[in-house]
């Protein structure tokens, strides 16, 4: 055991610090202070969506819009080229006296895969961006955290945060912005 870093499976790795706040308004104003202090790896946990919390946390635009846009383009392009390919090469068939390549007739089938791909892309993209499905999270170890789905408003600051120097400094920062029931979470 000369090298403690390479042989320390029993030493608990820290995930971060869990802090409770009294109300949605408290956690909202605390989020602004944490944002302004410059923390990056942290999160707010609430039983319901808090209006304006994205701005208070300093979250930027979601990337989901771009995922939806590219899925829509891919779906529409796929739907259109499938029909074009079928009518031009695979199975040319004269329908109702229309031209072989009758663009107006392709619009509904171009639209539908566009919508389908967008919907699927949004759901999958949302799951991936949220890191879901995730069956374990360090906050589950906290008895107090069970309130998060009822009447508890929590903030976690991860040790991975560049501003996280040590437990005591972060703890006193959280206390200074009105946190209570501060716990240290192990990974």
């Amino acid at each position: 055991m000369s090298n403690p870093t390479s042989h320390a499976p029993s030493a608990p790795k820290l995930f971060g610090i869990l802090a409770e706040f009294g109300s949605p308004a408290d956690v909202h104003s605390a989020a602004k202070k944490i944002r302004d202090a410059g923390y990056k790896k942290w999160d707010v946990h609430s039983p319901f969506p808090i209006h304006g919390i994205e701005t208070a946390m300093g979250l930027g635009d979601s990337k989901l819009g771009w995922i939806a846009f590219f899925c829509a383009c891919a779906g529409a392009f796929g739907g259109f080229s499938m029909q074009f390919w079928i009518h031009k090469y695979a199975y040319p068939l004269l329908i109702g006296g229309k031209p072989m390549i009758a663009y107006p007739a392709y619009v509904p089938v171009t639209f539908e895969p566009g919508i389908l791909f967008t919907a699927l892309g949004c759901i999958l993209g949302m799951l991936i961006l949220n890191g879901l499905p995730r069956l374990y999270h360090p906050t589950f170890k906290s008895e107090n955290f069970k309130k998060f789905s009822d009447n508890g408003f929590f903030v976690t600051i991860e040790t991975k945060d560049p501003l996280f120097k040590n437990v005591e400094a972060t703890r006193s920062f959280l206390q200074s912005i009105g946190a209570r029931n501060i716990e240290v979470l192990e990974d």
Partner: protein, 398 residues
């Protein structure tokens, strides 16, 4: 409160602007007279085009006002007065309608005695397509439009003074019944003055098509007028980026709705390929009309669709105003494309009469609009939802 920090009365600059608009209207009217004596048929083609465009703005505004009351919407309180005033333009539109009554022979082929004597379809439709009934219907439309628009404008102005909440309830109730009257009058106006130009052709979607275009034009003009008001120093706080974002969303959404209706109308007719239906698109694929027919899906739909998609554009006042101006122009081209192929079957025609009629009707409508806008506050200050409107937030992180 909003009054303390915001200019809600038209200032000198715009008060003066209405004199220029009146001048433009008179100048346009003189030019109209000149072109009328050159060719009355060409003149009425242009006059009807310009008339339907400004009627669309007024009708779309009436719809906007009523739908805001029906939805009990709070976000729109500070821009509703603009729409109320624009809807009240139905009064000046009733006056500007008078020349059309003298142009029925030039406008409608179904009024011609020889056609009525020989054309079987016109004979079948004669219970509806006859001049006395056309005049009665037109009178009914104006009763509905003037009645509804003056009720909403006057009640809203009264609320500025009294701040009675009961007036909001009253307007909400009136909007429910008014919406049905609006839908019928707007649809049959489109049937009478646009669809019956080709007395053989019919489309059950035509009323919705005109409505869809008019509501796009209304959102576009709301954005443009708000920008003009802000650029001249008005409503700097009461109309903010959140309201622009919402107007942009609705402009975007309703433009997609227009596309859906326009395409559905085209698609069903194109696919079925029945002679009496297909004439409308056949006539619009001749000569230079084909260019406009191909331009509309790209310039009325595809380009604005991509342009207005991002919320960064909707929240940027100059960028959104540019998009709105573009779409308003497209709405005018759309109405031109509906009406004028009936007069110039060989290809698109543009002349002095088009400019004269647009300047005349636009000038008088603009004058009347600014006159009424100057008579009261620019914002419905007595509305109980005003505070909610001012603190409205789309929740977009800056």
């Amino acid at each position: 409160m909003v009054e303390a920090q915001d200019i809600l009365r038209l200032n000198e600059k715009l008060q003066k602007g209405r004199i220029y608009l009146l001048g433009a209207g008179i100048l346009g009217a003189v030019l109209c007279a000149v072109t009328y004596f050159q060719s009355s048929r060409n003149f009425f083609a242009s006059y009807l085009t310009a008339y339907c465009f400004f009627a669309a703005l007024s009708l779309g505004s009436l719809f906007f006002v009523m739908v805001q009351h029906l939805a009990r919407s709070a976000w729109s309180v500070t821009v509703r007065r603009i729409a109320e005033t624009m809807a009240f333009n139905s009064v000046i539109l009733a006056v500007l309608f008078i020349p059309l009554l003298f142009g029925t022979h030039d406008i409608f082929t179904w009024t011609h005695a020889d056609i009525r004597a020989t054309d079987h379809l016109v004979q079948i439709k004669s219970a509806y397509l006859n001049l006395p009934f056309l005049y009665i219907r037109a009178a009914l439309y104006f009763v509905v439009w003037i009645g509804l628009s003056s009720f909403f404008l006057m009640t809203s102005r009264k609320q500025d003074q009294t701040r009675e909440e009961s007036l909001t309830t009253k307007m909400g109730r009136a909007a429910a019944g008014g919406m049905i009257l609006y839908a019928l009058s707007q649809t049959f106006f489109a049937f009478d003055w646009m669809m019956s130009l080709d007395s053989h052709w019919f489309s059950t979607m035509f009323g919705v098509y005109f409505f869809a275009g008019s509501i796009v034009a209304t959102y576009a003009s709301l954005i443009i007028i708000s920008t003009v008001l802000k650029a001249t120093g008005h409503v700097s706080k009461s109309v903010n980026v959140e309201h622009y974002h919402d107007m942009g969303k609705l402009l975007f959404g309703h433009n997609v709705f227009w596309t859906y209706i326009a395409f559905s109308q085209f698609f069903l007719i194109w696919y079925a390929n029945i002679p009496e239906e297909v004439t409308f698109f056949e006539a619009r694929s001749i000569g230079s009309w084909k260019i406009i027919s191909l331009l509309l899906p790209w310039c009325h739909f595809a380009i604005p669709f991509l342009y207005l998609m991002s919320h960064n554009v909707k929240r940027n006042r100059p960028a959104l105003t540019l998009g709105a101006t573009w779409l308003l122009t497209m709405c005018l081209i759309d109405i031109y494309w509906i009406i004028q192929p009936n007069f110039y079957p060989a290809g698109a025609h543009f002349g002095l009469a088009d400019i004269a009629a647009f300047v005349a009707i636009g000038g008088f409508c603009g004058f009347f609009f600014l006159r009424n806008l100057g008579q009261a506050s620019l914002v419905a200050t007595g509305d109980p939802r005003l505070e909610q409107c001012l603190s409205y937030d789309n929740g977009i992180p800056e």
